[in-house]
């Protein structure tokens, strides 16, 4: 339990003495919190006056920022010509990207995430399960080649095989690396020069800064591994703001949403993952999408996806066979 604003509000507003006692018990040795409680309890409208102070503080900071942005804007205009050639162009033309962009996913703000509730332990898929359940890495070229070769030799009159062949051949696998033992697509090979350099305010009036993608991903995975799904989601969504088809953020963000019981939103991310340029997570996405359908009680979608996974005879085929809708 953290002595944050929400907890203070709860403590000061609750009528339940039992609830008050539980909070006090948590902070009995924390003089800072207990003294602050005492301060607020001395005045009936103390919390309201604090909220007014909050607004005053924010207004003051905003004024300071405006002065900063005025000068920064002038600098960025002067440097603008330099930045244009650095914009990534090639990848955006791919059909897959257009398709991926057509699937809308919700990017969350901090407040949205705060309101989400973590699912009960039995309803979650823990990071350890995710880690242990990854399909074998795509970085085993010999096996892949063998699979493709064998498929080409199959009789062409089999309708099922004809449907599968182009799918397998179209999937582009990216290089992978492990962060905290979690598989991630290593975009450092595919986004060279992919940098937006700006000092402008974003839509929420926040200052922005440049941070290496891999650092943010690292931090986000760290939170995910610690089962801090809200904080992880916040960072994955930040990645998606810049790279809407980022397979890592889509996959792990969807897992966070799943564990926060936001099944519809998890579903759109898993579906979108099927249409991004790299297919490193497509098998996993289908497997966990099956869980989403199970939780969201979408029986028809569940059984058709289950059949598809079993039919593909991939890593999750057997698991899918054993997963029942109820």
């Amino acid at each position: 339990m953290k002595a944050n604003r929400a907890l203070f509000k709860k403590y000061l507003n609750t009528k339940s003495q039992e609830e008050k006692h539980l909070i006090e018990k948590q902070f009995v040795s924390d003089d800072f919190t207990m003294d602050a409680f005492e301060g607020y309890l001395q005045h009936k409208d103390a919390w309201q006056t604090f909220e007014a102070l909050d607004q005053k503080y924010n207004r003051k900071q905003k004024k300071k920022k405006l002065a900063f942005y005025g000068s920064a804007l002038a600098v960025s205009l002067l440097l603008g010509w330099y930045l244009i050639p650095a914009m990534p162009m090639k990848q955006t033309t791919s059909a897959a990207k257009h398709k991926a962009e057509s699937i809308q996913i919700k990017i969350h703000r901090e407040d949205d995430i705060q309101q989400m509730k973590t699912a009960a332990l039995s309803e979650r898929i823990t990071p350890t399960e995710v880690r242990l359940n990854f399909s074998p890495s795509n970085e085993a070229p010999a096996t892949k080649a063998e699979v493709l070769e064998r498929m080409q030799q199959m009789p062409t009159q089999t309708v099922e095989i004809r449907q599968q062949k182009p799918q397998v051949l179209q999937v582009k696998m990216g290089r992978e690396l492990l962060i905290k033992n979690f598989k991630v697509l290593d975009y450092r090979y595919y986004r060279k020069g992919d940098l937006t350099q700006t000092f402008a305010e974003n839509e929420h009036g926040e200052q922005q800064l440049k941070i290496p993608y891999i650092n943010i991903l690292n931090k986000a995975i760290e939170h995910f591994a610690r089962q801090d799904y809200k904080l992880a989601l916040l960072l994955f969504d930040e990645i998606l703001l810049t790279y809407p088809d980022d397979a890592n953020a889509l996959f792990y963000g969807a897992m966070c949403l799943y564990n926060l019981s936001e099944y519809n939103q998890a579903e759109s991310r898993f579906v979108k993952l099927q249409n991004v340029p790299f297919g490193n997570f497509s098998e996993e996405a289908n497997w966990y999408l099956l869980h989403v359908y199970q939780k969201a009680k979408k029986e028809a979608a569940f059984s058709s996806l289950q059949k598809m996974i079993i039919g593909q005879k991939g890593f999750y085929a057997e698991k899918a066979e054993n997963l029942s809708f109820n």
């Binding site: 924390d30 102070l53 929420h204 926040e206 200052q207 922005q208 960072l235």
Partner: protein, 192 residues
């Protein structure tokens, strides 16, 4: 590289990393994040001592305005405890200057514990209660009994005992500390 909302990035750091970031880059957003985490606590402390919302408001602003220079000047191991001291010092300086009659509050003992100690070892404490409770001062006995055994809130204890909030708080904290000392004494006696 990617562009990330600075606030989201700073939010993901713990206090000590945030301060490190501030020392390296001197981003004002670091102070904003600290305000977001502790502004309400600082305001509460200042309200406790000044007893006036206007004064508490001004002093809270003063505290966070001073923070950048103080952070650069000091090596801070545990920010929350350090900020508690800073806020109290600001309150005391204000009282000395404006309300010298209230300075007796300055004698109050600062008993801030390190972060690791904040979690309660209540079970161990309860085990010692039975035999050690009668050895405490009467006021401490009463408060400890009401809080830990009867599970009453501070407000209920104040109503029952007519002690002030501060007395209840001190009695519980000091009582708890004395119980631990008694327990340690007992253990060392038993091991001989």
């Amino acid at each position: 590289m990617m562009v990330l909302g600075r606030r989201a990035y700073l939010k993901s750091l713990n206090d000590e990393q945030l301060i490190q970031e501030f020392k390296e880059n001197q981003w004002a957003a670091c102070i904003d994040e600290l305000y977001k985490r502790y502004g309400h606590l600082v305001y509460g402390i200042l309200l406790k001592y000044t007893k006036q919302t206007m004064d508490a408001e001004d002093l809270t602003m003063e505290c966070f305005a001073k923070l950048p220079a103080l952070l650069l000047k000091h090596d801070i191991d545990y920010f929350k405890g350090w900020l508690y001291t800073v806020a109290r010092n600001i309150a005391f300086a204000f009282l000395r200057k404006n309300k010298p009659g209230d300075v007796e509050q300055l004698n109050e003992q600062v008993t801030y514990l390190a972060e690791g100690e904040l979690t309660n070892d209540n079970e161990e404490l309860l085990a010692t209660l039975e035999w050690a409770l009668p050895q405490l001062k009467e006021q401490q006995q009463t408060c400890i009994r009401l809080f830990y055994i009867e599970q009453l809130s501070y407000e209920q204890i104040i109503q029952q005992t007519r002690y002030s909030y501060n007395e209840v708080k001190s009695n519980i904290q000091n009582g708890k500390r004395n119980l631990k000392l008694l327990m340690e004494k007992k253990q060392s006696y038993e091991s001989k």
